[in-house]
C-alpha cells in the first residue's frame, strides 16, 4: 500500500497537473517569433529615440549659440550708434556735381546833399549768379539793376540793368586757374572784394571810381601758393583785356573811357579800336598771425594803348594793404597812380588814395545789445585828376548789424574840392547780403 501511495505521489509530482489547454508547437513557434519581432522593434525604437534625443540636444545647443550671437550684435549696434552719429546725407545729393545758386546784395539809400532836398536815392538789386558745372568749373555773373531819374526836362525815370561781370573760371590745377570773360580786374582789392554790401561805407572810394577800371573783357590766369604751414600765401594774377578806350575816337584827355572796349559797337565794328590789348598783373602776400589778426599787401598795375590811333598809353599802379587786429578792428587802404597821354594836354598824371578803418564796439565788452551790434567807421579820400581838380573827402559813419547780413549804414561826408558840384552829404543805407 505504502508503495502504491508513494508511486502515486511520485507520479503526481513527476507528471504535472493537467492544464485546461494544450499549445501546439506551431503556435508556440509563432508566438515565439512574434515576441522576437516585437523585441526587435522595441530595440529599434529605443535606438531611434536615442538619436532623436541627441538631435534635440544639438538643436538646443545651437539655439543657445544663436541667441547669444543675436544679443551680442544688438549690443554692438547700440554701442556703435552711440559712438558715431549716422552720416549726413545731403538733401540734394543728386545734384552734387552741378549746382546753381544766386548770391548778391540789395541796397536802399536815402541821401541829403547840402543845399538840396533829401531824397530816397535808389534801390539797387545786384544778384550774382553762380553755376558750378563740375568740381573745377564755375560760371559767375553779377548784375546791377537800379532806377534813376531821367535827364533834366525829361519826365519819369528809367531802369538800368548793367552787367558788372561775367566770367568762366576753370581750376586747371592747385596753382593755376583760368578765368575768361568780363572780368573783375585785380587792380587793388576793392573791386573784387569791397563792393556792394561788403563796403561798410555807402560810397565807393573816390580814387577807385575815378582812376581805374573795375572790369575788363579778356582772360586771366590766377592762383595762390602756400608759404609754410601757418596759413601764409602768395597770390598772383596775370591778365590781358581790351582795356580803356576813347569815347569819341580822339586822343583828347576828356575822351578817356576806362570801361570801354567791350564787345561789338552798334555800327558792327569791334570795340577794341586801338588794336592792342592792355596787360596787367597783381602780386599779393597774405600773412595771418592768428585768426582775426592778419596783414595783406598787394601791388598791381595795368598798361596799354587807349586811343584809336594807338598813340597814347594808359597805365595805372595800385598799392593795397589790409590789416585786421582782432575780430573788432580793421583798416584798409589803397594808393593809386595813373598816367596817360593825350592829344590836347600831353601827359596827364593822376593820383589818389583812401584809407578806411572800422571798430566794432563789441570789443569794449560792454555787453549791451545795441552797442555790441554797432561799428564805427571812417574814411579819408584824396583824388587829384591831373586836370586841375582836387578833392578831399572825410567820411564818418557807423554800421548797425541787425544780423550778420542785414546792415544799416549811415555816414556824413565832408567834401573839400575845387569842383563846386561836390558838396557835403548825409547818406543812410540799408543793405542786405545774401
Amino acid at each position: 500500500m505504502l508503495g502504491l501511495v508513494t508511486a502515486g505521489c511520485v507520479m503526481g509530482l513527476a507528471f504535472p497537473t493537467n492544464v485546461t489547454a494544450v499549445v501546439s508547437d506551431s503556435d508556440f513557434n509563432a508566438l515565439k517569433n512574434l515576441v522576437q519581432q516585437m523585441n526587435g522593434k522595441l530595440q529599434s525604437l529605443e535606438q531611434t529615440n536615442q538619436l532623436y534625443q541627441q538631435t534635440i540636444q544639438q538643436l538646443q545647443r545651437q539655439l543657445g549659440e544663436t541667441q547669444t550671437l543675436a544679443t551680442n550684435a544688438v549690443q554692438k549696434a547700440e554701442a556703435a550708434a552711440q559712438a558715431q552719429p549716422l552720416p549726413r546725407v545731403p538733401i540734394d545729393e543728386a545734384t552734387v556735381n552741378h549746382n546753381f545758386q544766386i548770391l548778391g546784395d540789395a541796397e536802399f539809400q536815402y541821401a541829403k546833399a547840402s543845399g538840396q532836398n533829401g531824397s530816397f536815392l535808389l534801390a539797387d538789386f545786384a544778384p550774382i549768379f553762380l553755376y558750378r558745372a563740375g568740381d573745377n568749373i564755375l560760371f559767375e555773373a553779377g548784375f546791377d539793376t537800379t532806377i534813376q531819374n531821367n535827364a533834366p526836362n525829361s519826365s519819369g525815370y528809367s531802369t538800368s540793368f548793367d552787367l558788372s561781370f561775367a566770367q568762366l573760371d576753370y581750376v586747371m590745377n592747385d596753382y593755376v586757374t583760368l578765368a575768361a570773360g568780363d572780368l573783375l580786374l585785380p587792380l587793388g582789392t576793392y573791386t573784387e572784394r569791397g563792393a556792394g554790401w561788403l563796403n561798410k561805407i555807402p560810397d565807393d572810394p573816390l580814387a577807385v571810381d575815378a582812376l581805374i577800371p573795375g572790369s575788363g573783357v579778356g582772360a586771366e590766369l590766377l592762383g595762390a601758393i602756400p608759404v609754410g604751414d601757418a596759413g601764409k600765401f602768395l597770390n598772383y594774377s596775370v591778365y590781358g583785356v581790351n582795356g580803356p578806350s576813347s569815347a569819341d575816337g580822339t586822343g583828347n584827355a576828356g575822351a578817356l573811357d576806362l570801361g570801354g572796349n567791350v564787345g561789338v559797337r552798334s555800327d558792327g565794328v569791334v570795340a577794341n579800336l586801338h588794336g592792342d590789348l592792355s596787360g596787367g598783373a597783381r602780386l599779393g602776400f597774405f600773412v595771418p598771425f592768428k585768426p582775426h589778426y592778419d596783414l595783406e599787401l598787394g601791388l598791381s598795375g595795368q598798361s596799354g594803348e587807349w586811343d584809336n590811333a594807338g598813340s597814347h598809353l594808359w597805365s595805372a599802379g595800385v598799392l593795397d594793404a589790409a590789416l585786421h587786429l582782432g575780430p573788432n578792428f580793421e583798416a584798409k587802404g589803397e594808393y593809386i597812380v595813373s598816367r596817360y597821354g593825350s592829344d590836347d594836354f600831353g601827359q596827364i598824371d593822376q593820383h589818389g588814395w583812401y584809407m578806411q578803418a572800422g571798430y566794432k564796439l563789441a570789443g569794449l565788452n560792454f555787453e549791451l545789445p545795441a552797442i555790441n551790434n554797432l561799428e564805427l567807421v571812417g574814411r579819408y579820400d584824396s583824388l587829384h585828376d591831373g586836370l586841375g581838380t582836387s578833392t578831399e573827402r572825410y567820411t564818418v559813419g557807423y554800421v548797425y548789424y541787425f544780423t550778420s547780413t542785414l546792415l544799416f549804414e549811415g555816414d556824413y561826408e565832408f567834401l573839400h574840392s575845387t569842383d563846386p558840384t561836390q558838396v557835403n552829404q548825409l547818406i543812410l543805407q540799408l543793405s542786405l547780403g545774401f
Binding site: Q101, E192, L325
Partner: protein
C-alpha cells in the same frame, strides 16, 4: 584907393579866415580819424588775450615760442576750422556752416576761392569743414 585897399585887405582876410577854418576842420578831422585809429588799436591791444605761455598750446595759435617737434608735427597743417576763421571773415561778416547745404557750399567755395584768390589746398580744407557742419 584906401577903401579899395581896405576891401582887398578884408577880402584877403576873409580868404585867410576861410583857409584857416578849412585848415582847422582838416586838422580836426584828421585828428579824429587818427584818434579813432589809435583808440581802436589801443582797445584791441588792451583787451586782447595775453600772449600765450611757451608751455601752453593755444588751439588757434600758429607759432609756439618753444619748438616742440611732436607738437610741431601734430600742428603742421592748419585744420579747416582754423583756415575758415583766418580767411572767411576778412571781407564779410562770418557766415555759419548751417546756412547752406553741402552742395551749395561746394559752389560758394569755388566762387570764394577765385574772388579771394586763396590756395586750392586751403579751400578744400575749408570746404570739408563747411560740408561736415552744413545745415542739410
Amino acid at each position: 584907393m584906401a577903401v579899395a585897399q581896405f576891401l582887398c585887405t578884408l577880402t584877403r582876410s576873409d580868404m585867410k579866415k576861410n583857409k584857416q577854418s578849412k585848415g582847422l576842420a582838416h586838422t580836426i578831422f584828421s585828428t579824429a580819424i587818427i584818434a579813432m585809429l589809435i583808440g581802436g588799436l589801443a582797445c584791441t591791444l588792451c583787451l586782447a588775450e595775453p600772449p600765450s605761455n611757451a608751455q601752453q598750446t593755444n588751439s588757434v595759435a600758429l607759432k609756439a615760442s618753444t619748438p616742440d617737434p611732436d607738437k610741431a608735427a601734430a600742428k603742421s597743417q592748419l585744420t579747416g576750422a582754423e583756415l575758415y576763421s583766418i580767411n572767411c571773415n576778412r571781407c564779410h561778416p562770418e557766415r555759419y556752416p548751417t546756412e547752406r547745404t553741402a552742395a551749395q557750399w561746394k559752389t560758394i567755395m569755388l566762387h570764394m576761392q577765385v574772388r579771394a584768390n586763396i590756395p586750392v589746398a586751403q579751400s578744400r580744407l575749408i570746404l570739408k569743414y563747411l560740408q561736415d557742419n552744413s545745415g542739410r
